[in-house]
Symmetry: C2
Subunit: 302 residues, 2 copies
Amino acid sequence: MKRTILVAGTMAFDTLETPFGKREKILGGSANFFSLAASNFTKVELSSILGSDFPKEHIEYMNSRGIGSSNTEWVDGKSFHWVARYEGCMNEAETLETHLNILPDYHPTFDDKAKKCEILFLANFHPEKQLHAIKEAQGTKLVICDTINFWIQNNFDALKEVLKRTNILVINENEVRMISKELNIMTAAKKVLSMGPSTLIVKRGEYGSFVCRKDEIFYVPAYPLQTVIDPTGAGDTFAGGFTGYLATSKDYNSFKEIKKAMLYGSVTASFTVEGFGIERIKTATMSEIQKRYDEMLKMISL
Amino acid sequence: MKRTILVAGTMAFDTLETPFGKREKILGGSANFFSLAASNFTKVELSSILGSDFPKEHIEYMNSRGIGSSNTEWVDGKSFHWVARYEGCMNEAETLETHLNILPDYHPTFDDKAKKCEILFLANFHPEKQLHAIKEAQGTKLVICDTINFWIQNNFDALKEVLKRTNILVINENEVRMISKELNIMTAAKKVLSMGPSTLIVKRGEYGSFVCRKDEIFYVPAYPLQTVIDPTGAGDTFAGGFTGYLATSKDYNSFKEIKKAMLYGSVTASFTVEGFGIERIKTATMSEIQKRYDEMLKMISL
Protein backbone atom coordinates (compact mmCIF):
# COMPACT_ATOMS: atom_id res chain seq x y z
CA MET A 1 0.00 0.00 0.00
CA LYS A 2 1.32 3.42 -0.93
CA ARG A 3 -0.73 6.44 0.08
CA THR A 4 0.25 9.89 -1.21
CA ILE A 5 1.15 12.35 1.54
CA LEU A 6 -0.03 15.93 1.29
CA VAL A 7 2.49 18.25 2.95
CA ALA A 8 2.02 21.95 3.59
CA GLY A 9 5.01 24.02 4.69
CA THR A 10 7.84 26.31 3.72
CA MET A 11 10.41 26.24 0.95
CA ALA A 12 13.25 28.52 1.88
CA PHE A 13 16.77 29.76 1.52
CA ASP A 14 18.96 29.11 4.56
CA THR A 15 22.18 30.88 5.42
CA LEU A 16 23.91 28.72 7.98
CA GLU A 17 27.04 28.67 10.06
CA THR A 18 28.16 25.59 11.99
CA PRO A 19 31.56 24.62 13.41
CA PHE A 20 32.11 22.92 10.03
CA GLY A 21 31.66 25.93 7.79
CA LYS A 22 29.29 28.52 6.40
CA ARG A 23 26.80 28.30 3.53
CA GLU A 24 24.97 31.24 1.93
CA LYS A 25 21.36 30.91 0.74
CA ILE A 26 21.29 27.14 0.29
CA LEU A 27 17.99 25.36 -0.24
CA GLY A 28 15.98 24.66 2.89
CA GLY A 29 12.50 24.92 4.33
CA SER A 30 10.52 22.41 6.35
CA ALA A 31 8.42 21.16 3.41
CA ASN A 32 11.56 20.73 1.34
CA PHE A 33 13.30 18.55 3.93
CA PHE A 34 10.10 16.65 4.70
CA SER A 35 9.28 15.91 1.06
CA LEU A 36 12.76 14.72 0.13
CA ALA A 37 12.78 12.37 3.13
CA ALA A 38 9.24 11.05 2.58
CA SER A 39 9.77 10.55 -1.15
CA ASN A 40 12.02 7.60 -0.36
CA PHE A 41 8.88 5.79 0.80
CA THR A 42 5.94 7.09 -1.25
CA LYS A 43 4.54 9.91 -3.40
CA VAL A 44 4.23 13.37 -1.93
CA GLU A 45 2.04 16.31 -2.92
CA LEU A 46 3.67 19.60 -1.95
CA SER A 47 1.77 22.74 -0.94
CA SER A 48 3.93 25.80 -0.51
CA ILE A 49 4.73 29.29 -1.74
CA LEU A 50 7.81 30.18 -3.78
CA GLY A 51 9.36 33.53 -4.61
CA SER A 52 10.51 34.33 -8.11
CA ASP A 53 14.13 33.82 -6.94
CA PHE A 54 13.56 30.14 -6.08
CA PRO A 55 15.34 27.79 -8.51
CA LYS A 56 12.88 26.11 -10.89
CA GLU A 57 15.37 23.26 -11.35
CA HIS A 58 14.91 22.24 -7.74
CA ILE A 59 11.16 21.91 -8.16
CA GLU A 60 11.78 19.89 -11.32
CA TYR A 61 14.18 17.71 -9.33
CA MET A 62 11.48 17.19 -6.69
CA ASN A 63 8.99 16.26 -9.43
CA SER A 64 11.49 13.65 -10.64
CA ARG A 65 11.38 12.12 -7.17
CA GLY A 66 7.61 11.80 -7.16
CA ILE A 67 6.91 15.05 -5.35
CA GLY A 68 4.02 16.81 -7.06
CA SER A 69 4.06 20.61 -7.16
CA SER A 70 0.68 21.54 -8.63
CA ASN A 71 -0.37 22.94 -5.25
CA THR A 72 2.69 25.15 -5.09
CA GLU A 73 2.28 28.81 -5.89
CA TRP A 74 4.93 31.01 -7.48
CA VAL A 75 4.66 34.70 -6.58
CA ASP A 76 6.67 37.78 -7.41
CA GLY A 77 9.18 38.61 -4.71
CA LYS A 78 11.85 37.00 -2.62
CA SER A 79 11.52 33.57 -1.01
CA PHE A 80 11.55 33.06 2.74
CA HIS A 81 15.14 33.35 4.03
CA TRP A 82 16.43 32.11 7.40
CA VAL A 83 19.86 32.97 8.83
CA ALA A 84 21.13 30.90 11.73
CA ARG A 85 24.20 29.69 13.57
CA TYR A 86 25.02 26.53 15.55
CA GLU A 87 27.82 26.33 18.10
CA GLY A 88 29.54 23.65 20.20
CA CYS A 89 27.45 20.48 20.32
CA MET A 90 25.01 22.13 17.86
CA ASN A 91 22.03 21.20 20.00
CA GLU A 92 20.25 24.47 19.27
CA ALA A 93 20.10 26.88 16.35
CA GLU A 94 20.56 30.54 17.12
CA THR A 95 18.36 32.47 14.69
CA LEU A 96 20.24 35.55 13.46
CA GLU A 97 17.76 36.84 10.88
CA THR A 98 14.30 35.85 9.64
CA HIS A 99 13.27 37.37 6.32
CA LEU A 100 9.66 36.28 5.84
CA ASN A 101 9.51 37.98 2.43
CA ILE A 102 6.64 36.34 0.45
CA LEU A 103 5.76 33.86 3.24
CA PRO A 104 2.84 35.90 4.70
CA ASP A 105 1.11 35.49 1.29
CA TYR A 106 0.93 31.71 1.73
CA HIS A 107 -2.66 30.53 2.12
CA PRO A 108 -2.84 26.76 1.71
CA THR A 109 -5.53 25.81 -0.81
CA PHE A 110 -5.55 22.40 -2.41
CA ASP A 111 -6.73 21.05 -5.74
CA ASP A 112 -9.15 18.11 -5.86
CA LYS A 113 -6.40 15.52 -6.12
CA ALA A 114 -4.64 16.94 -3.07
CA LYS A 115 -7.87 17.13 -1.10
CA LYS A 116 -8.24 13.36 -1.48
CA CYS A 117 -4.90 12.55 0.20
CA GLU A 118 -5.48 10.35 3.25
CA ILE A 119 -2.44 11.68 5.14
CA LEU A 120 -1.74 15.36 5.76
CA PHE A 121 1.52 16.64 7.22
CA LEU A 122 1.50 20.20 8.45
CA ALA A 123 5.01 21.50 8.88
CA ASN A 124 5.56 24.44 11.18
CA PHE A 125 3.69 27.60 10.07
CA HIS A 126 0.98 29.91 11.38
CA PRO A 127 -1.60 27.82 13.34
CA GLU A 128 -4.51 29.71 11.76
CA LYS A 129 -3.25 28.63 8.36
CA GLN A 130 -2.67 25.10 9.63
CA LEU A 131 -6.31 25.08 10.75
CA HIS A 132 -7.39 26.29 7.34
CA ALA A 133 -5.31 23.55 5.69
CA ILE A 134 -6.97 20.87 7.82
CA LYS A 135 -10.41 22.13 6.75
CA GLU A 136 -9.33 22.26 3.10
CA ALA A 137 -8.03 18.70 3.06
CA GLN A 138 -11.39 17.01 3.20
CA GLY A 139 -10.20 13.48 2.40
CA THR A 140 -7.70 13.46 5.24
CA LYS A 141 -7.92 10.70 7.82
CA LEU A 142 -4.55 11.21 9.50
CA VAL A 143 -3.30 14.66 10.47
CA ILE A 144 0.35 14.86 11.54
CA CYS A 145 1.46 18.25 12.76
CA ASP A 146 4.53 20.19 13.85
CA THR A 147 4.81 23.65 15.46
CA ILE A 148 7.44 25.82 17.19
CA ASN A 149 7.89 28.00 20.26
CA PHE A 150 6.96 31.21 18.38
CA TRP A 151 3.35 30.07 17.77
CA ILE A 152 3.04 28.64 21.29
CA GLN A 153 3.96 32.05 22.65
CA ASN A 154 2.01 34.19 20.21
CA ASN A 155 -0.93 32.20 18.81
CA PHE A 156 -1.76 29.69 21.50
CA ASP A 157 -5.55 29.83 21.04
CA ALA A 158 -5.34 28.98 17.35
CA LEU A 159 -2.76 26.32 18.11
CA LYS A 160 -5.14 24.70 20.62
CA GLU A 161 -7.72 24.38 17.83
CA VAL A 162 -5.08 22.75 15.63
CA LEU A 163 -4.22 20.29 18.42
CA LYS A 164 -7.88 19.25 18.69
CA ARG A 165 -7.78 18.23 15.02
CA THR A 166 -4.31 16.60 15.12
CA ASN A 167 -3.82 12.84 15.35
CA ILE A 168 -0.05 12.79 15.71
CA LEU A 169 1.86 15.78 17.06
CA VAL A 170 5.62 15.89 16.35
CA ILE A 171 7.42 18.51 18.45
CA ASN A 172 10.60 18.87 20.49
CA GLU A 173 10.80 18.50 24.25
CA ASN A 174 10.95 22.23 24.96
CA GLU A 175 7.79 22.75 22.95
CA VAL A 176 6.08 19.98 24.95
CA ARG A 177 7.05 21.83 28.13
CA MET A 178 5.87 25.17 26.76
CA ILE A 179 2.47 23.90 25.62
CA SER A 180 1.82 22.07 28.89
CA LYS A 181 3.50 24.55 31.24
CA GLU A 182 5.04 21.50 32.98
CA LEU A 183 8.76 20.86 33.57
CA ASN A 184 8.62 17.08 34.05
CA ILE A 185 8.59 15.67 30.55
CA MET A 186 6.21 12.77 31.31
CA THR A 187 3.71 15.04 33.05
CA ALA A 188 4.08 17.50 30.18
CA ALA A 189 3.51 14.77 27.57
CA LYS A 190 0.37 13.51 29.31
CA LYS A 191 -1.03 17.04 29.40
CA VAL A 192 -0.39 17.57 25.69
CA LEU A 193 -2.08 14.23 24.95
CA SER A 194 -5.16 15.51 26.79
CA MET A 195 -5.35 18.48 24.41
CA GLY A 196 -6.19 16.52 21.28
CA PRO A 197 -3.52 14.33 19.69
CA SER A 198 -3.84 10.61 20.42
CA THR A 199 -0.13 10.18 19.66
CA LEU A 200 2.70 12.49 20.69
CA ILE A 201 6.24 12.32 19.37
CA VAL A 202 8.82 14.13 21.49
CA LYS A 203 12.07 14.95 19.66
CA ARG A 204 15.18 15.31 21.82
CA GLY A 205 17.91 16.15 19.30
CA GLU A 206 21.02 14.03 19.71
CA TYR A 207 19.26 12.03 22.44
CA GLY A 208 16.71 10.64 20.00
CA SER A 209 12.98 10.73 20.56
CA PHE A 210 10.06 8.95 22.11
CA VAL A 211 6.49 8.38 21.09
CA CYS A 212 3.69 8.03 23.60
CA ARG A 213 0.00 7.42 23.85
CA LYS A 214 -2.17 7.28 26.93
CA ASP A 215 -0.71 3.96 28.09
CA GLU A 216 2.15 3.23 25.72
CA ILE A 217 5.63 4.59 25.21
CA PHE A 218 8.53 3.73 22.91
CA TYR A 219 12.05 5.18 22.84
CA VAL A 220 14.35 5.55 19.85
CA PRO A 221 17.94 6.79 20.01
CA ALA A 222 19.44 9.08 17.41
CA TYR A 223 21.51 7.03 14.99
CA PRO A 224 25.09 7.39 16.27
CA LEU A 225 27.28 9.46 13.96
CA GLN A 226 30.86 10.60 14.25
CA THR A 227 30.27 13.40 11.75
CA VAL A 228 27.46 15.86 12.31
CA ILE A 229 27.87 18.81 9.94
CA ASP A 230 24.58 20.71 10.13
CA PRO A 231 21.48 19.78 12.17
CA THR A 232 19.13 21.92 10.03
CA GLY A 233 16.18 19.90 8.81
CA ALA A 234 16.77 16.93 11.11
CA GLY A 235 13.31 17.32 12.68
CA ASP A 236 11.58 17.72 9.31
CA THR A 237 13.34 14.72 7.78
CA PHE A 238 12.53 12.73 10.93
CA ALA A 239 8.86 13.58 10.28
CA GLY A 240 9.36 12.75 6.58
CA GLY A 241 10.78 9.30 7.25
CA PHE A 242 8.18 8.68 9.95
CA THR A 243 5.21 9.76 7.83
CA GLY A 244 6.68 8.14 4.73
CA TYR A 245 6.81 4.74 6.38
CA LEU A 246 3.29 5.11 7.85
CA ALA A 247 1.94 5.96 4.39
CA THR A 248 3.05 2.51 3.22
CA SER A 249 1.64 0.70 6.26
CA LYS A 250 -1.51 -1.41 6.27
CA ASP A 251 -2.61 0.07 9.59
CA TYR A 252 -1.13 3.42 10.51
CA ASN A 253 -3.04 3.47 13.79
CA SER A 254 -1.28 0.40 15.18
CA PHE A 255 1.37 1.25 17.77
CA LYS A 256 3.60 -1.45 16.33
CA GLU A 257 3.62 0.40 13.00
CA ILE A 258 4.12 3.74 14.76
CA LYS A 259 7.18 2.24 16.47
CA LYS A 260 8.67 1.10 13.17
CA ALA A 261 7.94 4.53 11.73
CA MET A 262 9.88 6.09 14.64
CA LEU A 263 12.94 4.05 13.69
CA TYR A 264 12.59 5.05 10.03
CA GLY A 265 12.23 8.69 11.08
CA SER A 266 15.33 8.53 13.22
CA VAL A 267 17.57 6.91 10.61
CA THR A 268 16.26 9.15 7.81
CA ALA A 269 17.17 12.21 9.88
CA SER A 270 20.66 10.81 10.43
CA PHE A 271 21.50 11.37 6.75
CA THR A 272 20.37 15.00 6.81
CA VAL A 273 22.80 16.06 9.54
CA GLU A 274 25.75 14.53 7.67
CA GLY A 275 25.79 17.43 5.21
CA PHE A 276 24.78 21.07 4.88
CA GLY A 277 21.12 21.67 4.07
CA ILE A 278 19.60 19.05 1.78
CA GLU A 279 22.89 17.92 0.20
CA ARG A 280 23.12 14.57 2.01
CA ILE A 281 19.42 13.70 2.32
CA LYS A 282 19.21 14.15 -1.49
CA THR A 283 21.66 11.32 -2.02
CA ALA A 284 20.34 8.92 0.65
CA THR A 285 18.84 5.81 -0.92
CA MET A 286 16.19 3.48 0.46
CA SER A 287 18.79 0.72 0.79
CA GLU A 288 21.01 3.03 2.85
CA ILE A 289 18.02 3.90 5.02
CA GLN A 290 17.14 0.22 5.43
CA LYS A 291 20.73 -0.63 6.38
CA ARG A 292 20.72 1.94 9.20
CA TYR A 293 17.26 0.78 10.26
CA ASP A 294 18.55 -2.77 10.68
CA GLU A 295 21.59 -1.52 12.60
CA MET A 296 19.42 0.68 14.81
CA LEU A 297 17.12 -2.21 15.64
CA LYS A 298 20.15 -4.12 16.93
CA MET A 299 21.15 -1.15 19.09
CA ILE A 300 17.93 -1.38 21.08
CA SER A 301 17.47 -5.16 21.09
CA LEU A 302 18.63 -7.48 23.86
CA MET B 1 25.71 -17.81 40.50
CA LYS B 2 26.17 -15.02 43.05
CA ARG B 3 29.55 -13.36 43.27
CA THR B 4 30.26 -10.90 46.08
CA ILE B 5 31.06 -7.39 44.86
CA LEU B 6 33.82 -5.43 46.56
CA VAL B 7 33.02 -1.72 46.46
CA ALA B 8 35.35 1.10 47.48
CA GLY B 9 33.94 4.61 47.83
CA THR B 10 32.54 7.28 50.08
CA MET B 11 29.96 7.26 52.84
CA ALA B 12 28.75 10.79 53.39
CA PHE B 13 26.31 13.30 54.72
CA ASP B 14 24.50 15.25 52.01
CA THR B 15 22.72 18.57 52.45
CA LEU B 16 20.50 18.98 49.44
CA GLU B 17 18.05 21.43 47.98
CA THR B 18 15.81 20.57 45.04
CA PRO B 19 12.58 22.19 43.77
CA PHE B 20 10.84 19.66 46.06
CA GLY B 21 12.44 20.69 49.33
CA LYS B 22 15.57 20.79 51.43
CA ARG B 23 17.24 18.11 53.55
CA GLU B 24 20.06 18.66 56.05
CA LYS B 25 22.82 16.08 56.48
CA ILE B 26 20.96 13.05 55.20
CA LEU B 27 22.85 9.84 54.44
CA GLY B 28 24.62 9.73 51.10
CA GLY B 29 27.93 8.85 49.51
CA SER B 30 28.65 6.89 46.35
CA ALA B 31 29.45 3.60 48.11
CA ASN B 32 26.27 3.92 50.15
CA PHE B 33 24.02 4.32 47.09
CA PHE B 34 25.92 1.68 45.15
CA SER B 35 25.79 -0.93 47.93
CA LEU B 36 22.09 -0.50 48.66
CA ALA B 37 21.30 -0.88 44.94
CA ALA B 38 23.60 -3.87 44.39
CA SER B 39 22.43 -5.65 47.55
CA ASN B 40 19.13 -6.37 45.80
CA PHE B 41 21.07 -8.74 43.55
CA THR B 42 23.96 -10.15 45.59
CA LYS B 43 26.29 -9.73 48.58
CA VAL B 44 28.48 -6.66 48.79
CA GLU B 45 31.69 -6.02 50.70
CA LEU B 46 32.05 -2.32 51.54
CA SER B 47 35.36 -0.49 51.82
CA SER B 48 35.08 3.07 53.09
CA ILE B 49 35.97 5.49 55.87
CA LEU B 50 33.50 6.76 58.44
CA GLY B 51 33.71 9.65 60.88
CA SER B 52 32.68 9.25 64.49
CA ASP B 53 29.48 11.18 63.69
CA PHE B 54 28.26 8.57 61.20
CA PRO B 55 25.25 6.62 62.51
CA LYS B 56 26.20 3.05 63.55
CA GLU B 57 22.59 1.97 62.99
CA HIS B 58 22.95 2.62 59.28
CA ILE B 59 25.96 0.31 59.02
CA GLU B 60 23.99 -2.29 60.99
CA TYR B 61 21.12 -1.82 58.56
CA MET B 62 23.53 -2.34 55.64
CA ASN B 63 24.85 -5.51 57.32
CA SER B 64 21.26 -6.76 57.55
CA ARG B 65 21.02 -6.37 53.76
CA GLY B 66 24.12 -8.50 53.15
CA ILE B 67 26.56 -5.62 52.92
CA GLY B 68 29.71 -6.53 54.86
CA SER B 69 31.53 -3.72 56.66
CA SER B 70 34.71 -5.37 57.94
CA ASN B 71 36.74 -3.32 55.44
CA THR B 72 35.23 -0.10 56.69
CA GLU B 73 37.30 2.04 59.01
CA TRP B 74 35.90 4.30 61.72
CA VAL B 75 38.08 7.29 62.58
CA ASP B 76 37.79 10.20 64.95
CA GLY B 77 36.39 13.27 63.26
CA LYS B 78 33.58 14.36 61.00
CA SER B 79 32.37 12.37 57.99
CA PHE B 80 32.57 13.71 54.44
CA HIS B 81 29.80 16.28 53.90
CA TRP B 82 28.51 17.51 50.53
CA VAL B 83 26.19 20.49 50.10
CA ALA B 84 24.44 20.91 46.76
CA ARG B 85 21.46 22.36 44.98
CA TYR B 86 19.43 21.31 41.91
CA GLU B 87 17.25 23.71 39.93
CA GLY B 88 14.72 23.50 37.08
CA CYS B 89 14.95 20.18 35.27
CA MET B 90 17.54 19.08 37.88
CA ASN B 91 19.93 17.89 35.20
CA GLU B 92 22.97 19.09 37.08
CA ALA B 93 23.93 19.48 40.73
CA GLU B 94 25.45 22.77 41.76
CA THR B 95 27.98 22.03 44.50
CA LEU B 96 27.74 24.69 47.19
CA GLU B 97 30.17 23.26 49.76
CA THR B 98 32.49 20.25 49.96
CA HIS B 99 33.70 19.36 53.45
CA LEU B 100 36.20 16.55 52.93
CA ASN B 101 36.73 16.19 56.70
CA ILE B 102 38.11 12.66 57.33
CA LEU B 103 38.00 11.63 53.65
CA PRO B 104 41.71 12.34 52.91
CA ASP B 105 42.55 9.65 55.51
CA TYR B 106 40.88 6.96 53.40
CA HIS B 107 43.44 4.47 52.09
CA PRO B 108 41.65 1.41 50.71
CA THR B 109 43.16 -1.77 52.16
CA PHE B 110 41.28 -5.03 52.04
CA ASP B 111 41.18 -8.13 54.23
CA ASP B 112 41.79 -11.55 52.71
CA LYS B 113 38.11 -12.22 52.11
CA ALA B 114 37.68 -8.92 50.26
CA LYS B 115 40.82 -9.51 48.21
CA LYS B 116 39.23 -12.67 46.82
CA CYS B 117 36.18 -10.84 45.38
CA GLU B 118 35.98 -11.40 41.63
CA ILE B 119 34.28 -8.05 40.93
CA LEU B 120 35.59 -4.69 42.14
CA PHE B 121 33.62 -1.47 41.83
CA LEU B 122 35.55 1.72 42.33
CA ALA B 123 33.24 4.63 42.99
CA ASN B 124 34.52 8.12 42.34
CA PHE B 125 37.54 9.04 44.51
CA HIS B 126 41.19 9.99 44.06
CA PRO B 127 42.62 8.05 41.06
CA GLU B 128 45.86 7.29 42.93
CA LYS B 129 43.79 5.58 45.61
CA GLN B 130 41.71 3.83 42.96
CA LEU B 131 44.97 2.51 41.51
CA HIS B 132 46.06 1.34 44.94
CA ALA B 133 42.71 -0.41 45.43
CA ILE B 134 43.07 -2.27 42.11
CA LYS B 135 46.51 -3.52 43.21
CA GLU B 136 45.17 -4.51 46.64
CA ALA B 137 42.26 -6.54 45.23
CA GLN B 138 44.34 -9.42 43.93
CA GLY B 139 41.45 -11.80 43.20
CA THR B 140 39.68 -9.29 40.97
CA LYS B 141 38.83 -10.28 37.42
CA LEU B 142 36.42 -7.49 36.59
CA VAL B 143 37.17 -3.86 37.46
CA ILE B 144 34.28 -1.42 37.05
CA CYS B 145 35.17 2.20 37.64
CA ASP B 146 33.64 5.67 37.95
CA THR B 147 35.30 9.08 38.11
CA ILE B 148 34.36 12.78 37.92
CA ASN B 149 35.47 16.02 36.24
CA PHE B 150 37.61 17.08 39.21
CA TRP B 151 40.07 14.18 38.78
CA ILE B 152 40.08 14.54 34.99
CA GLN B 153 41.17 18.15 35.43
CA ASN B 154 43.58 17.68 38.31
CA ASN B 155 44.91 14.10 38.27
CA PHE B 156 44.73 13.02 34.67
CA ASP B 157 48.00 11.05 34.65
CA ALA B 158 46.93 8.87 37.56
CA LEU B 159 43.49 8.51 36.02
CA LYS B 160 45.03 7.25 32.76
CA GLU B 161 46.74 4.49 34.76
CA VAL B 162 43.38 3.59 36.31
CA LEU B 163 41.78 3.44 32.83
CA LYS B 164 44.44 0.97 31.66
CA ARG B 165 43.37 -1.39 34.46
CA THR B 166 39.61 -0.83 34.09
CA ASN B 167 37.35 -3.28 32.26
CA ILE B 168 34.13 -1.26 32.39
CA LEU B 169 34.16 2.51 32.78
CA VAL B 170 30.90 4.13 33.93
CA ILE B 171 30.92 7.91 33.49
CA ASN B 172 28.64 10.68 32.25
CA GLU B 173 28.77 12.21 28.79
CA ASN B 174 30.57 15.37 29.85
CA GLU B 175 33.29 13.27 31.46
CA VAL B 176 33.63 11.27 28.23
CA ARG B 177 34.14 14.56 26.38
CA MET B 178 36.62 15.84 28.96
CA ILE B 179 38.77 12.69 28.95
CA SER B 180 38.83 12.49 25.15
CA LYS B 181 38.92 16.23 24.41
CA GLU B 182 36.32 15.51 21.70
CA LEU B 183 32.88 17.14 21.36
CA ASN B 184 31.17 14.49 19.22
CA ILE B 185 30.06 11.84 21.68
CA MET B 186 30.76 8.84 19.40
CA THR B 187 34.25 10.08 18.55
CA ALA B 188 34.77 10.79 22.24
CA ALA B 189 33.59 7.32 23.25
CA LYS B 190 35.89 5.60 20.75
CA LYS B 191 38.85 7.56 22.07
CA VAL B 192 38.08 6.62 25.68
CA LEU B 193 37.78 2.96 24.62
CA SER B 194 41.30 3.20 23.16
CA MET B 195 42.63 4.25 26.59
CA GLY B 196 41.98 0.96 28.36
CA PRO B 197 38.39 -0.06 29.12
CA SER B 198 36.91 -2.64 26.77
CA THR B 199 33.43 -1.47 27.70
CA LEU B 200 32.27 2.12 28.19
CA ILE B 201 28.97 3.16 29.74
CA VAL B 202 27.93 6.73 29.01
CA LYS B 203 25.33 8.13 31.42
CA ARG B 204 23.09 10.91 30.07
CA GLY B 205 20.85 11.76 33.02
CA GLU B 206 17.17 11.92 32.10
CA TYR B 207 18.05 10.78 28.56
CA GLY B 208 19.23 7.38 29.76
CA SER B 209 22.56 5.86 28.84
CA PHE B 210 24.37 3.79 26.29
CA VAL B 211 27.04 1.12 26.48
CA CYS B 212 29.58 0.61 23.75
CA ARG B 213 32.47 -1.59 22.80
CA LYS B 214 34.66 -1.37 19.71
CA ASP B 215 31.90 -2.56 17.37
CA GLU B 216 28.79 -2.76 19.52
CA ILE B 217 26.41 -0.25 21.02
CA PHE B 218 23.20 -0.49 23.04
CA TYR B 219 20.89 2.30 24.19
CA VAL B 220 18.72 2.37 27.31
CA PRO B 221 16.27 5.14 28.18
CA ALA B 222 15.78 6.42 31.70
CA TYR B 223 12.68 4.84 33.19
CA PRO B 224 9.95 7.47 32.68
CA LEU B 225 8.81 9.05 35.94
CA GLN B 226 6.33 11.79 36.66
CA THR B 227 7.92 12.46 40.03
CA VAL B 228 11.63 13.15 40.28
CA ILE B 229 12.43 14.47 43.75
CA ASP B 230 16.22 14.32 44.02
CA PRO B 231 18.69 13.02 41.40
CA THR B 232 21.48 12.47 43.96
CA GLY B 233 22.85 8.95 43.76
CA ALA B 234 21.18 8.09 40.46
CA GLY B 235 24.52 7.35 38.80
CA ASP B 236 25.78 5.28 41.75
CA THR B 237 22.59 3.23 41.96
CA PHE B 238 22.70 2.77 38.19
CA ALA B 239 26.18 1.29 38.68
CA GLY B 240 24.87 -0.75 41.64
CA GLY B 241 22.01 -2.30 39.68
CA PHE B 242 24.29 -2.84 36.68
CA THR B 243 27.10 -4.47 38.66
CA GLY B 244 24.62 -6.34 40.87
CA TYR B 245 23.05 -8.05 37.88
CA LEU B 246 26.44 -8.86 36.31
CA ALA B 247 27.56 -10.45 39.57
CA THR B 248 24.75 -12.99 39.20
CA SER B 249 25.44 -13.65 35.53
CA LYS B 250 27.13 -16.78 34.16
CA ASP B 251 29.22 -14.74 31.74
CA TYR B 252 29.73 -11.10 32.62
CA ASN B 253 31.83 -10.54 29.50
CA SER B 254 28.97 -11.32 27.11
CA PHE B 255 27.47 -8.20 25.54
CA LYS B 256 24.01 -9.73 25.90
CA GLU B 257 24.48 -9.87 29.68
CA ILE B 258 25.95 -6.34 29.67
CA LYS B 259 22.79 -5.16 27.89
CA LYS B 260 20.52 -6.76 30.48
CA ALA B 261 22.66 -5.23 33.21
CA MET B 262 22.16 -1.80 31.60
CA LEU B 263 18.40 -2.21 31.89
CA TYR B 264 18.71 -3.30 35.54
CA GLY B 265 20.97 -0.30 36.19
CA SER B 266 18.49 2.08 34.65
CA VAL B 267 15.44 0.81 36.50
CA THR B 268 17.31 0.56 39.82
CA ALA B 269 18.32 4.22 39.48
CA SER B 270 14.70 5.16 38.82
CA PHE B 271 13.79 4.34 42.41
CA THR B 272 16.57 6.49 43.85
CA VAL B 273 15.36 9.72 42.25
CA GLU B 274 11.83 9.21 43.58
CA GLY B 275 12.90 10.28 47.05
CA PHE B 276 15.53 12.33 48.86
CA GLY B 277 18.87 10.58 49.37
CA ILE B 278 18.58 6.86 50.03
CA GLU B 279 14.99 6.95 51.33
CA ARG B 280 13.36 5.38 48.25
CA ILE B 281 16.16 3.03 47.12
CA LYS B 282 16.06 1.56 50.66
CA THR B 283 12.47 0.42 50.17
CA ALA B 284 12.76 -0.80 46.57
CA THR B 285 12.32 -4.56 46.35
CA MET B 286 13.61 -7.00 43.75
CA SER B 287 10.05 -7.58 42.56
CA GLU B 288 9.54 -3.84 42.04
CA ILE B 289 12.84 -3.71 40.13
CA GLN B 290 11.81 -6.70 38.01
CA LYS B 291 8.43 -5.11 37.25
CA ARG B 292 10.07 -1.94 35.91
CA TYR B 293 12.62 -4.06 34.01
CA ASP B 294 9.80 -5.84 32.20
CA GLU B 295 8.05 -2.53 31.47
CA MET B 296 11.30 -0.99 30.21
CA LEU B 297 11.94 -3.91 27.89
CA LYS B 298 8.55 -3.23 26.28
CA MET B 299 9.45 0.44 25.82
CA ILE B 300 12.38 -0.43 23.55
CA SER B 301 10.87 -3.47 21.79
CA LEU B 302 9.07 -3.38 18.46
